[in-house]
Symmetry: C2
Subunit: 193 residues, 2 copies
DNA sequence: TCATTTGTACCGTTCGGTCTGTTTGAGTAC
DNA sequence: GTACTCAAACAGACCGAACGGTACAAATGA
């Protein structure tokens, strides 16, 4: 059968839409208009708006995994520098993203306490990222930039959770300076515990 | 004039409602039903739903300031212990709050990037809390539990932002253990930078 | 008395989703 | 190559409910 609307492209557009508008503030009509679909096409491709969001969260999570893997790949740099640099870059991107933060964090905050499926999906996306970051934390421990005495998993949790926190803060103030300072301080603090 | 509905009580109920449901997912009808008001009474007391939220955010912020001030007041304990203990308690409360997180954080995340007034109100609530916490951070620096070489304001930012981050994480997983571990690790990390 | 507060019907719009008829094109038979 | 089949894909009118908010009359009480 001929498929007029590429599901992947629609999901990519959906990511942007949920990212900018949130979940409850975005209607299926808007999704259809933005993707050039009709309701018939949309509901033929996706079971429901909720189900569409789940697909978007998963796709966004995978995109992020690839992005982080790439950001952390440079073999010539110290692990700790790569980690800090990556987070600083993501925070520096916020003004151009209109301080929309991170889709995973946004959905976690808006509806994960009310919708278990979304909770699971966002938690999975978060955990997947930790799996990408943790090896770099272990490397930083071996390189003496993070105390080897602490559990690498917990450090990774701390780092990425802090990122979510300062990201939300940047959103409200529409200013990323303090967030970058806080994130930088965190990474420095991890050296000797 | 006789006022049937105490504005303060209505705002208190509103805090709960926005806290549990978010902003876009909560209708004025539900607010009226939950507070026992009619629409006439509601719109006589508040300019709009948005305006009502602003009042709720401000009241919630003040409540939080009082709560934190009290939590940090014990003169016999070391400042660092009071700080950590306070955050652990707030995280331990999450299961009984159905992992609804923190209203300020929730509203920051859901709509502050789209609604400037809410952005300002949540940012103000956040800053007010920092003003309560920072003196305790300074005290901890004097007591040798936080490195005196770093800016106390930035440390305070970091601590409370991290709290927001781990709170969101706890929401999605409906589990506060990792959040408590991460928060504890952060406070320990601040000792020697 | 009269401004304020309240009750409620009502407004136009949007919500998520359904229904039904039409179009599409790969597969099959010849 | 052509004709036919048929399930999938699509268009869009339509559904009842809920949305934020208004209008206006009735009730209230200083």
């Amino acid at each position: 059968m001929n498929i007029k609307h590429d599901k992947e492209k629609v999901i990519k557009k959906g990511i942007d839409l949920f990212w900018c508008n949130g979940y409850s503030n975005l209607g299926v009509d808007k999704i259809c208009k933005a993707t050039g679909m009709t309701k018939g096409a949309f509901y033929n491709a996706f079971k429901s708006k909720e189900n569409f969001l789940l697909s978007c969260i998963e796709a966004y999570g995978n995109m992020n995994m690839n992005y982080l893997t790439e950001q952390l790949s440079d073999q010539n740099k110290r692990a700790i520098d790569k980690i800090l640099n990556m987070y600083v870059i993501m925070l520096e991107n916020q003004p151009s993203l209109n301080f929309t933060g991170c889709l995973t964090n946004n959905m976690m905050s808006e509806i994960s306490s009310v919708n278990e499926l979304v909770g699971n999906a966002t938690a999975r996306a978060f955990d997947n990222l930790l799996d990408v970051i943790e090896p770099m934390v272990i490397k930083a421990q071996l390189e003496g930039d993070i105390s080897p005495s602490v559990d690498s998993k917990t450090v990774t949790e701390l780092i990425h959770s802090t990122f979510f926190g300062v990201l939300t803060r940047a959103k409200a103030t529409r200013d990323n300076k303090k967030s970058i300072s806080a994130m930088t301080l965190l990474i420095k603090s991890l050296k000797t515990i």
